[in-house]
Amino acid sequence: MKKVRNAIIFIIIFLIIFQLINNVLSIKPNAIHNFYKEPKNSFDVVYIGASNAYQHFNSVLAYHEYGFTTGLMSSDTQPIQILKYMLKEAQKRQKPKVYVIDLGHLYYFENNKVGGIHKVIDEMPFSFNKLAITKKLLESSNINKKDYINYYFNFLMYHSSWKTALNNLKNNNLYKGYLLEKYNTKIDSQEKLPWDYEVSSLNQIQEAALQETIDYIKEQNLEVLFTVPIKTYDQTFMGYINAAMRMIEENNLKIINFNTIDELEIDFSHDLYDYEHLNVWGATKYTRYFAKYLHENYDLKDHRQDKKYISWSKEYDRFTKSLKELIGESIDEI
């Protein structure tokens, strides 16, 4: 009996140390990592999307201006196939007033990359929903089936990254999910194409995944706002978006195409750092506009006087300090 007890204690201690080490080694600071770090039921808005979400929407700035909190459940190249499951995952921890879904997802329905998959699942606690997301992500990739195991047991991937993990602990360039790095303070002059492409079509994968999500939203009676991210579009992508917008509107759900809103005053020659992402100037314009919209159209609480949310103010201060160091301008000057 004593031996059994000892064995159980040994295994429990092992699992605790293992989990601690795994947490440190697999830290790849990203918005999803931040999403799980925040307390349960602490977000007023949950923003789901691919890289556009965490690079365009500055959650600490929105908090500073209107006092509501936004959880960015966003990572690079999230494919449309996991959208329903990401909503499910968010529901487990948060009860936001509104879910914002960025349709950048539509672009990533195939050839998903190793890094993109890891960024979604690595920080996610184990659940059957996580297994479903992992399965969908792997199906959306070209990864060899024999390597699937590395995604279900991420320790296989990260055990050797002890040196990187130590660096990651030191450098935190995330502000409640929003990423501020040297590269998004660069300016890449782009040409804005007019949104005049009429043809609309989705392929089978996109259509099925979007319909599945819409059905789920209706079934769960969720307050959802779809958005079309600002970027340069080719005709194929414009076609996807047109078709998706039609589907969403036909289902009586809301959608905003930010590419057709002139009041935003996004200057394509200045406000992007590459062809598909807003730089810090663009993101600030976008956040100010969209945060105001959310504030005015949804009953979002102002937490600025609530001590429980003090970390949001601190993160905002840290953000403004970093911004000044990086571009030499204060947020008010943008």
Binding site: F10, I13, I21, S160, K163
Partner: protein, 488 residues
Amino acid sequence: MILTSFTFIIFCIVSLLIYFIIPKKWQWIALLGSSLFFLFYKNFNIGTLVHILVAFGAAYFSAIFIDEYAHQKQAKWFLIEGILFILGQLMLLKYLNLFQNFLMSPIGISYYSLIMISYIVDVYRGLCKPQKNPLKCALFMFYFPILTSGPFIRYPDLENKIYAKHKFNYDNLCRGLIRIVWGLFKILVISQRLAIFVNNIYQNYLTYTGLYLIITCLFFTLQLYTNFSGSIDIIMGISKIMGIDLPENFRSPFFSKTITELWRNWHITLGAWLKDYIFYPLMKSNFIQKIGAKTKKIVNKKVSKKVTLYISLLIMWILIGAWHGIESKFIIGSGILQFIYMFLEDLLSPITKKVCKKLKINYNSLGYRIYQCIRTYLLFSFSMIFFRAASIPNALSIIKNIFIFKKGFLTNIFSLGLNKANFVVLIISVIVLFIVEYRQLKGDVTESLLKQNVVIRWTILYLLIFAVLIFGMYGPGYDETIFIYQQF
């Protein structure tokens, strides 16, 4: 199935669970099932099946007939027939590769072939009775843990263990798991790290000279040892959990003062096998006896004895080399060169002693012993150049380049696959290895670990386990471990 692969871990867990869950009288059948699954895993075809049945049939029936005609002339014929049959299939499949287009040689062919030979010879010598149950006989010959890298088992030593009913034993589980983790430490933390460096240099051997090549040669010996002995640790650990103790194959070989001593501690079961089934019979053979008689007429009895001894040793060492592969690099590297070392050691030993006496060097001092160990390591590493190189000309070219020293002292050593951090991990791990190996000389390290109080014991175990998990080289980005001795 690679020993450190996920498939192998699952295979072992399932095999062990079945082994302990089913009624004890069926345990050996479960073990046979696991062994056959392992044997035919990803290599099941009619050709392999026929080959294995033929080899097994030759060993099984030879033993039965040898026993039936015990002490009669026919017994010898059955013995010879059996040996020729087994050796024949080994030669055809493994060494001559005659059927390579449609028949892959099964895993462990070099191991189970020699085990089959030892079995029928032991029956012939009356050391054991043949196993009449063909399934039980098959279990002995194809016992899965030994199919990867040995050790060589013998029927008289194992018959009481392998078919016995084994209760699950917590102590065996602990000892087995500790052994497995230690094996994984050797392979994944040390051997795999060294392999990156060694492979890099051997693949571009013309680019490097001097110290780079010297370090590579020294590293390869360590890589080979940690790879081979690490896999043996895993094998022994798995077997231990089932309650089946296998013979040790290594005994801290790098603390050997001579090459002769090193080989008594390196691949022990192969050395013992060759001694019992090749060397001693050879010494007693008519061929050697005749040589002995002839040399006696020319030189004195003592020298004549030495001559016959050396001839037998030379044949044995050529066979050891050939067991690794019939390529000349193996025959020279792990055969003839080892013989030359031993021959010179024997020849020079009295002179060395005299010189030491004259120079007043204490033959038993720690300093002298360390010198001897280092000398042995260097000589062994030199011979391993032939073993590791792609061919004899490559090996000779490496040896030639060793003596070329260019300007700059290891300027780009950290750009050869192992960065500074990895070198630090490697050095610490090798120090740990040598401490454990040294401690092993004084007694079983696992036993003394288990006698420690719980805090020390668990701390050491956690450190070891997490060293493997964090610093082990496995998972994406790393090639699956190639077990050097699994290919023989």
